[in-house]
C-alpha cells in the first residue's frame, strides 16, 4: 500500500469533516483544563488545508509542505503548531517523491514525534498528543500481527486515551493543576483519535 497525493487529499477531506463533527466535543474536553478551543482551532486549520489544490501537486513532500503552510496561516496555537512541525518533518523526509510507502509510516510518525517533542519541550508520558502518536507509532510498527494498519492505528489512538485518563498532565498550566487532570482525557489525544479515525475510514 502506498500513500499518493491523491489519497492524501482524500484523507484531508475526511479529516476536515471528522473534525467538524467532533468540534464541540473537542472544545469541551479542552475547556475542562485549557481554553476550550481545540476543536475550533483544528477545524479552522483543516478547513484551510482542505482548500489546497492538491490536483496541481505531484510531489508528496510538496503536498505536505503546502499543508504545513496552509495550516500555519491559520494558527499559532500549541497543538496547531505541533501539527505543523510534524507536517514539516514529513515534508522534508518525503521531498522529491510522488508517494510514500506504508512501511515507512511508523518511521515518519516517529520522526515527527521527536521533532514535536523538541519544539514543544515535552516528553513521552506528559499526557499529550505525543503519547497518542507514540502509541500509534508502536502499533503500526508492530510486525507480529497482520491486522490492517488502519485498524491498529485507530485502536492505538483510543488505547492511549484510556491508558492516560487517570494519569496527570505535565504540560500547560503545569503542576499546580496536575491533580485536577486525573480522570480527564487530554484534548490533543482525543483530537488524534478523530484524525486517525478519519484517515482509516477510507472506504
Amino acid at each position: 500500500m502506498i500513500v499518493t497525493v491523491q489519497s492524501l487529499a482524500d484523507a484531508v477531506r475526511r479529516m476536515e469533516a471528522a473534525l467538524l463533527a467532533d468540534e464541540a466535543k473537542l472544545n469541551s474536553a479542552d475547556s475542562l483544563m485549557g481554553d476550550g478551543d481545540t476543536g475550533s482551532m483544528l477545524t479552522r486549520m483543516f478547513t484551510a488545508i482542505a482548500h489546497i489544490d492538491f490536483e496541481a501537486i505531484d510531489d508528496i513532500g510538496q503536498a505536505f509542505r503546502e499543508m504545513a503552510r496552509a495550516g500555519s496561516s491559520t494558527t499559532g496555537s500549541s497543538l496547531g503548531t505541533l501539527i505543523i512541525v510534524a507536517l514539516i518533518t514529513v515534508a522534508k523526509a518525503t521531498n522529491g517523491n510522488t508517494s510514500l510507502d506504508a512501511h515507512d509510516i511508523a518511521a515518519h510518525i516517529g520522526a515527527a514525534k521527536l521533532a514535536m517533542m523538541t519544539r514543544g519541550r515535552s516528553a513521552i508520558g506528559d499526557k499529550t498528543i505525543i503519547d497518542g502518536l507514540d502509541f500509534v507509532e508502536r502499533a503500526i510498527g508492530d510486525t507480529s500481527t497482520d491486522e490492517p494498519l488502519a485498524i491498529r492505528a485507530v485502536v492505538a489512538s483510543r488505547l492511549a486515551v484510556e491508558d492516560f485518563r487517570n494519569r496527570t498532565s505535565r504540560v500547560g498550566r503545569a503542576r499546580l493543576l496536575a491533580d485536577r487532570s486525573v480522570g480527564l482525557d487530554d484534548p490533543g489525544m482525543l483530537a488524534l483519535c478523530t484524525i486517525v479515525r478519519a484517515i482509516a475510514n477510507s472506504e
Binding site: G76, L79, R175
Partner: protein
C-alpha cells in the same frame, strides 16, 4: 455572550484595522496583516524589541508598540499564539542591524512559533535573543519557575528593556535588562467572571455568581482556590503575602506595583485594591516607586484583577521612569 462585533472570524482583523486607523503611528504589516509595527522605523543601530501573543488582551500586546517600548508585535487569533510567518515578519521589521529581542509570555504556541521564526531569520544573520515572561506565580510551583506563564508583569519588562534600547544599549544589554526585570517580577491574578471567545457561549472558566477564584490566568486558566467573594482587603492581603513569599533574594525595599484590571472590572475597584496594596506594602517596609493602576493586560470581558510587584534596583527604576509613548501609556515627555 454579547459582543459588539460583526463576525467571530473577522474579530481580530477588524480590531487591528480599527487600532491602526485610530493610531496612525502604528502600521499593520506582514503577509497576513498580523504584525503591528511603529510607522516610523526606529533609528538605525537601535536594538529592536518584538513581542507577540494571542488577541484578546488589549492593550497587550500590540498596544505597547511605541517609543521606548516595542518596535513590532506579532498577533495571533484570540488566545492563540501568532503564527510563524507573523513572528518572522515582526522580527525582520524590528531589526535595524543591532539585533532583536523577542520578549513575550511563556506559552507553548507563542514560544514554538517565535523559536522557529528566530531560526529562520538567524539564517539571514539577524541576531535574536529571547526572554520569556514568567511572572504568574500561580501557574507553576516555585521549583518550576521557568514553566510559569507571563501575564501582566510583562509590561514592566517591555518598559525597562524598551528604555534601555532607546538609550542605544546592545542586544546583550537590552536582553539582560529584560531578563533581570522578569526575574524580579511576580504576579498573581483573581477572576470573578470569565471571558468568552468571539462566537462562543461557553466561558473561559466556570464560576458561580457569588464566587471568586484566586490565581486565574489571563485566559481563564484555573487558579489555586475558589470561594465565596471576600472583602477586597482580605483578597489583597492574601495576594500581597503570596507574592512576598516568593520574592527574589537580595532585593531592596523599592518596588513597582501594577494593579491590573482584567477587562470588566472598574477603575473604582482597582483603586480600592490599590489603597490596600499600598497599606500592606508600607507595613512590610516597602516603598512604592512606580504605582500603576489600570487595565494594562486584559482578557476581553473577564472581571477580575491581578497584582504585580517588580522589585527594583536603581537602574530598573530609572528605566521604568524614562520617557515612553504608546497608544495606551505615556511616561514623561519625549
Amino acid at each position: 455572550m454579547k459582543k459588539l462585533i460583526n463576525a467571530p472570524e473577522r474579530y481580530v482583523d477588524e480590531m487591528l484595522e480599527g487600532l491602526t486607523l485610530a493610531h496612525p503611528e502604528l502600521s499593520l504589516i506582514g503577509d497576513q496583516g498580523r504584525v503591528v509595527a511603529r510607522s516610523t522605523i526606529a533609528q538605525p543601530g537601535k536594538v529592536g524589541i518584538v513581542s507577540g501573543g494571542g488577541s484578546g488582551h488589549l492593550p497587550l500586546f500590540c498596544g505597547y508598540v511605541g517609543h521606548g517600548l516595542l518596535d513590532a508585535c506579532a498577533i495571533g487569533n484570540v488566545f492563540e499564539g501568532p503564527n510563524m510567518a507573523s513572528c518572522e515578519d515582526a522580527i525582520r521589521r524590528a531589526d535595524s542591524g543591532a539585533g532583536v529581542l523577542c520578549l513575550y509570555g511563556n506559552y507553548g504556541g507563542d514560544r514554538m512559533n517565535f523559536d522557529m521564526a528566530s531560526e529562520l531569520v538567524e539564517m539571514d544573520s539577524i541576531d535574536v535573543k529571547t526572554v520569556l515572561g514568567t511572572d504568574d506565580i500561580a501557574s507553576a510551583e516555585a521549583e518550576e519557575a521557568a514553566k510559569r506563564r507571563g501575564v501582566a508583569g510583562l509590561v514592566f519588562a517591555f518598559k525597562t528593556s524598551g528604555a534601555r534600547a532607546a538609550k542605544m544599549g546592545t542586544l546583550e544589554q537590552v536582553a539582560q535588562i529584560a531578563q533581570d526585570t522578569v526575574s524580579r517580577t511576580r504576579t498573581i491574578g483573581m477572576g470573578l467572571s470569565p471571558s468568552f471567545l468571539p462566537g462562543s457561549s461557553v466561558g473561559s472558566f466556570e464560576i458561580e455568581p457569588h464566587e471568586v477564584e484566586m490565581g486565574t490566568g489571563i485566559h481563564g486558566e484555573k487558579g489555586i482556590w475558589r470561594a465565596p467573594l471576600q472583602k477586597a482587603d482580605q483578597l489583597v492581603d492574601e495576594m500581597v503575602e503570596r507574592l512576598l513569599d516568593e520574592k527574589p533574594d537580595n532585593i531592596g525595599s523599592d518596588v513597582a506595583v501594577l494593579v491590573n484590571g482584567m477587562g470588566a472590572t472598574s477603575l473604582e475597584e482597582l483603586f480600592i485594591l490599590y489603597r490596600r496594596v499600598k497599606q500592606r506594602l508600607d507595613g512590610f517596609g516597602f516603598s512604592i516607586r512606580v504605582p500603576l493602576v489600570g487595565s494594562f493586560v486584559t482578557s476581553m470581558e473577564m472581571a477580575g484583577a491581578s497584582l504585580s510587584l517588580c522589585f527594583l534596583d536603581k537602574e530598573l527604576e530609572t528605566l521604568l521612569k524614562a520617557p515612553a509613548s504608546c497608544p495606551f501609556w505615556k511616561v514623561g515627555d519625549i
